[in-house]
Symmetry: C2
Subunit: 324 residues, 2 copies
């Protein structure tokens, strides 16, 4: 039988890069030597079976997504990723599952040149808790409370395909998706791409004011920026960039899932109108599409409008883990 120590050694302990971590897996703590003068950004996300992913979810995709949602938090802060810890509760030490999970996890980690520096494994209902560490220069972090009236509101990539895929799985759609569309949308649900390069550029070059990553739906997440910034906004719902599959659906569904879908892991950020060219140049330099979708205003509240500027009442809300 695979022991806890063999499990870690076989699947999670890799040759130590020694570039960032002064000491990796295998001691009581990992050690990191922070870059002099930089702040450390830290975020922790827990993924629970049946809540954040379906029971029986493909292990490789799960390895990717578990790290991706954490990297997305660093992206939303404009912090450059350094490393992460992984705490894992598993019902059993299943070799095929561990192999797939580690593959998905490390493929993404390697893409961002970051190391797994420590963690914990235990038996229990499947639960994946990752804590990521990044670095950002003092005063450069993209804080939620930093939006200012007059700022443009921008969205990276596209929204809503992840929610559409979930609706497809759940059989919630009046007009079901064909197989190819379901697969296309599902890729956005299962393997989100954290917008790390864009977030880092927006912070390092001082282009953006506030940012958040869209995990619970744009309206809910933008709401956090507004609350913490003491501001309001007008959002052009028809300007929201719908995912490739969602874009083929009717207006009502497109509006609903792009404005309040969830699981998008795109960035919503604000920047002054004077920075429009800089935003577009930064986004182009990392091949990430961005779309201007609204404006921050002094008047509190979020005003949804359609393409003609007429008010929309979508009755949408962000996702909450204890009331939904």
């Amino acid at each position: 039988m695979l022991s806890e120590f063999d499990l870690i050694k076989e699947y999670f302990q890799r040759p130590h890069h020694a570039t960032r971590a002064a000491l990796g897996i295998g001691d009581d703590c990992a050690l990191i030597a922070p870059t002099p003068g930089m702040q450390t950004a830290i975020s922790s996300d827990m993924l629970v079976e049946g809540r954040h992913f379906f029971a029986g979810e493909d292990a490789r995709r799960l390895g990717h997504k578990s790290l991706a949602v954490n990297l997305s938090d660093l992206a939303a802060m404009g912090a450059r990723p350094v490393g992460f810890t992984l705490a894992l509760a598993l019902p059993a030490a299943d070799r095929a599952w561990l192999h797939g999970f580690a593959q998905g996890l490390f493929a993404l980690a390697d893409a961002f040149n970051i190391e797994l520096i420590g963690g914990d494994t235990t038996k229990g209902p499947l639960n994946i808790c990752i804590t990521v560490f990044g670095e950002v220069a003092p005063g450069r972090a993209l804080r939620r409370g930093a939006a200012r009236p007059g700022d443009d509101i921008w969205i990276s990539g596209t929204l809503g395909d992840a929610r559409l895929a979930l609706a497809g799985y759940r059989g919630e759609l009046a007009q079901p998706l064909d197989d190819a569309s379901q697969r296309g949308a599902a890729a956005r649900l299962h393997t989100p791409v954290p917008r790390v390069e864009l977030g880092v550029l927006l912070a390092e070059q001082g282009i953006a004011h506030a940012a958040i990553d869209i995990s619970d739906g744009l309206i809910g997440d933008l709401g956090h920026i507004l609350t913490l910034s003491g501001a309001g906004a007008t959002l052009d719902v028809d300007a929201l960039p719908a995912g490739d599959v969602l874009a083929t659906r009717d207006t009502a569904l497109r509006r609903a899932y792009s404005a309040a879908g969830g699981d998008d892991y795109e960035l919503c950020f604000t920047a002054p109108a004077s920075a429009r060219a800089a935003v577009l140049a930064a986004a182009a330099s990392v091949a990430t599409p961005v779309t201007r979708v609204g404006i921050i205003e002094a008047q509190a509240g979020l005003r949804l409008v359609d393409a003609a500027g007429a008010p929309l009442d979508l009755r949408l809300a962000g996702f909450d883990h204890f009331t939904s």
Copy 2:
């Protein structure tokens, strides 16, 4: 109904000290400004209901223990605690449970002057994942692989009462404990005291070579030091400091539970014989008893002996989450 955001605000968000964390709960990431020149020590532990604690465990004790086992890892590295993140999966947002858990958690956090800087809450089978951060000067960390032949082996505090309490709960004892004894031993199981001050002194003053915290039983944990140091040891099992309650039991039980009990969260550390006075002075200065129990040797393997120096064969092993 208590929402996820209200839950965090009501039970886990406290006035921001601003002493260490540049930015605490409520953004995509927390920000810490590392002390210039210091390394960051990081450790992550996950506690699962039915595995690390009984179903229905008192929430206050659980809040204490969840943080204590993590601080114990910092202690074993000789790192000074700075802050921690908490990721929590809960079956329901139960106010009484949350109140108790937060009380136990913050009482210990306040005792070490550290802050909860971020985390995550979600619905799911009860699971508590804490990641702690500390600081240690480069080259000062107490690494598992740093023991040298000739080093004394030391133990802080006492061993075995936590395992004795567990045996009592499970009805494993031939001679059951009376109520007072069960309560006394159980305090060691439920509310371990991390040996942070001692670990920090041993590291900062350069007194100790290697250290580990005893979570899976001394023999298993000392084994990690020996393996990583490429060394062996002779351990005087009768010299092991038994817990107050265990000390009243027969020799066989005392040997078994002090040598391989688990859940002790004491430090096992090695230091050169020339440092004996310094070890005792450091321990006295933080009112932590320490006991010399063996010696590191060049010959591989762990040799257990009794008070007369005769070999003992205890057939004991450390705890492993996937084979036990």
